[in-house]
């Protein structure tokens, strides 16, 4: 297989493309995202990295992609035209919805419930009914299904989502409905069946997860087909692999069927990058901190593994980074449990009617962008503030994508912030920088302190175009004394794509009391079936080298609604193994909630994750090392410029280094700046800088 790998990450503001040669050396391109046709920005970046690295397209053996396509389709309601079929009596299931009114919605007399993800006029019901154990209460009326098929046929839909009551317990009716619809509807109409996509109890989330699969599946298939065709046109024959939310990658074929699994594609890639950096440096516990143009994301990686969640709310809002139940469309997928806040370089700063300075959550995006982009933006942003404070070089921004205009940035800050507030532009800009740090600290807080993790023991891995500019100040808020900034940090998520493995998740659900658990007739065969399905997803067998099967089980107290997910040890399932798992449930419960009565528990869900590891040697090489034969360290700064540090009482002339200049040299005390092509590292007073032989930066300071 040709040994060059390309990774492409499409974000809200920038599209990052990284090419890595077989020896691990990277070439990077950053372009503005092209939202109308995301492939355009990718192709621009791909051509650029091929050309500047002198690589022939045929040498590219792997193409890994993080995309916001599924997220945007749901947020902007531009997915496929879908019909929904459910059990008689429940046509209103999605239109009635389960939204929560939180924050300002609660007191808004003019509040508007979110429009249903599919209009009632495309929702249908068929006569049939199962009970909670899967028994048939009302047989499926096939003539009724054919009538519904006829009506759907006249609606010109691209996909149909089928979700019948209690189908998680017995999929027979759903399968038969799918067969009849497949016969009756035109070829090319895709079908999404809830018992295949998410076979778990609670009809609303199962229906939305199925519906969203139907909604984004066809456009994902179309988009990936188009992207692969355009890559082939320029000579790249590698199939595209797509990052999924839980940290693995899917083949293009699987991504089409499980498009919802790609919702948090880009943010997950950033976490995987931080995980790889931690692994390489021997740091199993790190905080991934990734700040781009639109949002910042934080995730705690413990013991080398990021936390996972099983429910995601697309378009959700609240204080928890878009994850609050009831404020978006719930999608039941495995996703890296990260906190995302609306604080990026493009976040708009404003003064509220109480006279308080606020930052975000609105972003200026790539168009018109911050005022200093000179692309028509008139609102001051975090980037404008950073430019005014001297942290950014107007002539060296985002890999030379743009030349910034300090005048436009300063004008916006003065007009919108400093004049109304009656402060100097510098004070306003410093406050904007600080408030952005505070908002991002909230994200770090959610994934650490709030989960009972003391962040002081966790170095921060800082990435994204803006991350290394803010990381030290965020760290100070928690007493964190170590920050790692990997090479090519400005395109960190794309670098993360290089460290991914092919993976798939399968889940089964059935409530069984621990006391009644039957391994031979129940739980054992369930895991065997799920494992076989997962292996089939990846086209591998359990004996293939590099194939890993992980099993987990959901456990709760009898009578409660919420469960904890506990890992099963590898090997044969026995009563002793299950008893041990229950003990671990009690321990985890005690750690999480401070109480743990030894009351009876029950098993609720059974999960299998199958991973095919990318050859570990290659992944190790893909740590994005500096080019071989790079010039030795000179030690001195390339130049200097005034930069603002509160400790210095304002602007101070501050040296600006390249990484190469400090490679392998002793620690150097701040304040200073380090400039990459794609990012600037701000080293405030009291922090020291070291750069190792792989161009990885470490910032450290004495505990205060």
């Amino acid at each position: 297989m040709p040994g060059h790998v390309i990774a492409a990450d499409v974000g809200g503001t920038f599209t990052d493309v990284v090419l890595v040669r077989p020896d691990g050396t990277p070439v990077v391109a950053k372009t503005l995202s092209t939202h109308e046709d995301p492939a355009e920005g990718i192709l621009t970046g791909v051509r650029s990295v091929l050309e500047s690295s002198g690589t022939g397209p045929a040498e590219v053996g792997r193409f890994v992609h993080a995309t916001t396509l599924a997220t945007n389709a749901i947020l902007e309601r531009t997915g496929a035209r879908v019909a929904f079929v459910t059990t008689r009596g429940f046509r209103g299931l999605l239109a009635l919805g389960r939204y929560a009114r939180v924050e300002e919605d609660r007191f808004d007399i003019l509040f508007e419930p979110p429009p249903p993800p599919v209009p009632l006029s495309r929702c249908f019901e068929v006569t049939e009914r199962l009970d909670a154990r899967g028994g048939v209460l009302v047989p499926l009326d096939e003539a009724d299904v054919r009538r519904v098929a006829g009506r759907i046929g006249r609606l010109d839909v691209e996909a149909v989502a089928i979700s019948l009551l209690h189908s998680y317990a017995n999929p027979a009716h759903e399968r038969r409905v799918a067969e009849i619809l497949a016969e009756a509807l035109p070829a090319g109409v895709s079908l999404a069946v809830s018992s295949e996509i998410f076979p778990e109890s609670r009809e609303y989330e199962r229906a939305t997860t199925t519906l969203m699969s139907a909604y984004v599946g066809p456009i994902m298939v179309r988009y990936l087909g188009l992207l692969e065709r355009r890559l082939r046109d320029i000579g790249i024959g590698a199939r595209v692999q797509v990052m999924e939310s839980s940290g693995g990658v899917l083949s293009a074929a699987l991504a089409g069927r499980r498009a919802v699994a790609t919702i948090e594609s880009g943010p997950a890639a950033g976490v995987v990058a931080a995980q790889a950096v931690g692994r390489r440096l021997g740091l199993p516990d790190v905080i991934s901190f990734d700040m781009g143009g639109t949002t910042a994301k934080a995730c705690a990686i413990r013991g080398g593994v990021p936390d996972l969640t099983r429910e995601f709310h697309v378009g959700g809002k609240g204080s928890f980074g878009g994850r609050r139940a009831g404020t978006g469309v719930p999608i039941k997928i495995a996703a890296i449990d990260l906190a995302e806040v609306g604080a990026g370089g493009g976040s708009v700063a404003w003064v509220d009617e109480g006279g308080a300075l606020r930052v975000g959550p609105r972003s200026a995006g790539s168009r018109p962008g911050p005022a200093c982009y000179g692309l028509g933006g008139v609102n001051p942003t975090v980037t404008d503030a950073n430019l005014l404070l001297g942290y950014l070089d107007p002539g060296n921004f985002a890999g030379g994508t743009l030349t910034l205009s300090p005048e436009r940035g300063a004008e916006a800050i003065e007009r919108v912030l400093s004049v109304p507030l009656g402060v100097t532009p510098e004070a306003a800009a410093a406050a904007v920088h600080d408030i952005a740090n505070a908002v991002m600290a909230a994200a770090v807080h959610v994934v650490t302190v709030q989960r009972g993790i003391d962040p002081r023991a966790y170095p921060i891995v800082a990435m994204g175009g803006a991350g290394p500019m803010h990381a030290a100040r965020v760290a100070e808020r928690f007493g964190i004394v170590r920050i790692v900034v990997p090479a090519a940090c400005g395109v960190g998520s794309a670098a993360g794509l290089l460290a991914t493995d092919l993976a798939t998740d399968r889940v089964g659900t059935r409530v069984v009391a621990h006391a009644d658990a039957d391994i031979d007739a129940g739980i054992g065969p369930t895991y065997a079936r799920l494992t076989a399905e997962g292996l089939a997803d990846l086209g591998v067998t359990g004996r293939d080298p590099g194939v890993v099967v992980e099993r987990t089980i959901d456990i709760r107290y009898r009578g409660q609604a919420h469960d904890l997910n506990i890992a099963l040890p590898p090997g044969e399932l026995t009563k002793a193994v299950l008893d041990g798992v229950v003990e671990r449930f009690y321990e985890r419960y005690l750690a999480a909630y401070g109480i743990a009565p030894r009351d009876p528990v029950e098993f609720v869900g059974y999960r299998v994750r199958v991973t095919r590891l990318v050859a570990r040697d290659a992944a190790q090489a893909h740590h994005v090392a500096p080019a071989a034969g790079a010039t030795g360290a000179t030690g001195g700064p390339a130049r200097s410029r005034p930069a603002w540090f509160a400790e210095a009482g304002g602007f101070a002339d501050t040296p600006v280094y390249t990484r190469a200049a400090r490679r392998g040299l002793p620690p150097l005390a701040g304040p200073l700046l380090v400039e990459d092509a794609e990012a600037t590292v701000v080293v405030p007073p009291r922090w020291t800088l070291t750069v190792d032989a792989t161009d990885t930066i470490t910032l450290s300071r004495e505990p205060s």
């Binding site: 009635l96 939180v102 909230a442 107290y557 609604a561």
Partner: protein
């Protein structure tokens, strides 16, 4: 809050986040570890941070005003019985006394003191509707109670736990008074765990900021909220606005009984100069039936309703209460005295909210709203062991708003959302019943230029004998429309016998016996319309017909729009 220095703005912003996160974490802990049916079926827990005067500093996003006001009013009562000097680290206090800040007997409030040095300065508080605490009906809905003693065990402020753990005497007392002793103790443990979590977070913040800085930041935050609230009030057209709203009946006196007491809530809202007086003088007297409200709940209703006419983004804390003077006559429906029952407190409170909304619709016509259907609580419970209960509510349609239709089958009062309506699959897994349908009721929204929100119909077919308890209102007098809009369709509670006969049940009834094979049907009332229906956009009528919200017959009858069969 001043912005002369970025540092002040920053501190306030960070602290605000941290306080909310502390309350949020407490709520999560309670939800994750409670057994109450409401929680298990999807409702949220409430959690708040208060100062030692009971002033609300912050609460979790899911906390309704009903619950945060209860915590705020009850805390001084706890301190009256247990002076701060007598409190020790690790102590936890609880009460449910409706006449001292509580809500009704089934809602337990839990407080944990937070110390600065040796002094109690702050409290964390948590609150949920617990599994069962006795009374005439399982799960705490004694719809026909004539005094509070029928509503369950009353709990004055008690020290329920110390650093050593739960008080064994209190545990025995609660267990003895509950139909579900294990579940209720699970709920109490969850409340205590949640309060402990929030208290630890606040202690960390106090250590991080220092007590003086913390106190100053809290004061700044409340002042900032007050200033914004005053500005929003000042933007309203000054004047006195009056309205009233009646409760259908008290459930004890038969419908339209000549001796039935009047049940009208009357209000005069005076706004001027950045403050408001909300005076309920003239509201009818408390009655010996479960249609009275305790003080904290009426305060919450008044604050909620007035907030709906201010900037929705105002923070909710004690600072926002300072410009409001809320007058609740003692001994009225809105300020019941012992032993008048308070279990049905939402009935007078929703009438109070509606009266304020109608009055304020005059003051702010751009935010006018027609009257709404309300939530209709009910329970379906086992008649004998093994015990099971389905305890839930369905929502009526919201009244049409200026320029907008009313949302369907959702809560306008207190801003509760449909996430608290249980899902069918887990209910059927737990209880011997089949939910035949959860559906919109076509044509139930009050016709108008802006249409009222639709009511819903949920049909439960019972697989075992059961007792059904209901507590409904606006089931006899429909919520009226405004400005030429018409009322919403009346809902009700019904019994369907196996031969298909459907009979209407009283709106409020206690333990109606249902046999296996019979069905219990909940229909909620639609919201009132706003503006004349003839002025409704024809395309909007057409879309309603396509979606099934309005029938062809209804389109012609109510809106004068004839829609052909081919559409």
């Amino acid at each position: 809050m001043t912005t002369s220095s970025g540092r002040d703005a920053l501190t306030a912003e960070v602290l605000r986040h941290s306080l909310m996160v502390a309350a949020e974490e407490a709520g999560i802990v309670v939800i994750r570890s409670a057994y109450s049916t409401f929680i298990v079926e999807g409702s949220d827990a409430s959690a708040a941070i208060l100062d030692r005067h009971g002033r609300l500093i912050a609460h979790s996003v899911a906390t309704t005003l009903m619950n945060s006001m209860a915590l705020s009013v009850a805390l001084p009562e706890v301190l009256a019985d247990h002076p701060a000097e007598s409190m020790r680290p690790g102590d936890v206090f609880a009460l449910n006394d409706a006449y001292r800040g509580g809500i009704h007997t089934n809602d337990i409030l839990v407080f944990r003191p937070i110390f600065v040095g040796d002094t109690v300065e702050y409290f964390s508080g948590t609150l949920i509707h617990v599994s069962d605490l006795g009374g005439a009906s399982a799960g705490g809905m004694a719809a026909l109670a004539t005094d509070i003693f029928a509503e369950g065990l009353q709990l004055p402020p008690v020290r329920i736990a110390t650093a050593d753990g739960l008080d064994p005497v209190m545990e025995r007392l609660l267990r003895l008074n509950s139909r579900t002793p294990d579940l209720v103790m699970g709920d109490v443990r969850a409340l205590i765990a949640g309060a402990g979590t929030a208290a630890r977070r606040i202690e960390e913040l106090l250590a991080e900021y220092g007590p003086a800085e913390f106190r100053r930041s809290v004061a700044d935050y409340l002042d900032y909220t007050e200033a914004r609230t005053r500005r929003a009030l000042a933007a309203l057209r000054p004047g006195t606005y009056r309205s009233e709203y009646a409760i259908d009946d008290d459930g004890v006196h038969p419908s339209l009984h000549p001796g039935a007491p009047p049940l009208v809530v009357r209000v005069a809202v005076t706004v001027a100069g950045g403050s408001a007086v909300i005076d309920f003088e003239g509201t009818d007297a408390q009655v010996a039936a479960a249609v009275n409200s305790s003080l904290s709940q009426s305060l919450a209703g008044a604050v909620f309703a007035i907030r709906c006419f201010l900037d929705p983004t105002l923070p909710m804390n004690a600072g926002g209460l300072r410009p409001l003077d809320i007058r609740l006559p003692a001994g009225s429906l809105l300020n019941a005295q012992s032993p008048y029952p308070c279990g049905g407190r939402f009935l007078p409170v929703y009438a109070a909210i509606e009266a304020i909304m109608q009055a304020m619709s005059e003051a702010a016509p751009d935010r006018a709203i027609a009257a709404s259907g309300i939530l209709q609580p009910f329970s379906i419970a086992a008649r004998q062991a093994p015990y099971w209960i389905h305890l839930a509510y369905d929502f009526g349609g919201v009244g049409a708003r200026a320029g907008k239709d009313g949302p369907d089958a959702t809560g306008v009062h207190f801003g509760i959302g449909r996430n608290s309506v249980p899902q069918t699959e887990p209910v059927e897994t737990r209880c011997p019943l089949v939910v035949e349908a959860v559906e919109f009721i076509p044509d139930s929204g009050g016709p108008g230029r802006w249409r009222g929100g639709l009511g819903s119909r949920t049909t439960f077919r019972l697989l075992a004998d059961a007792d059904v308890t209901t507590r409904g209102d606006r089931l006899r007098t429909a919520p009226p429309g405004r400005d030429g809009g018409r009322p919403g369709r009346l809902g009700g509670f019904f019994r369907r016998t196996p031969d298909g006969t459907v009979e209407r049940l009283p709106a409020k009834n206690n333990n109606a016996h249902f046999r296996a094979g019979e069905a219990f049907i909940v229909e909620t009332t639609g919201g009132g319309g706003l503006g004349r229906p003839e002025e409704r956009d024809i395309e909007a009528v057409r879309a309603d017909v396509a979606d099934g919200r309005v029938t062809r017959l209804g389109a012609e009858r109510d809106f004068g729009v004839v829609i052909g069969d081919d559409e």
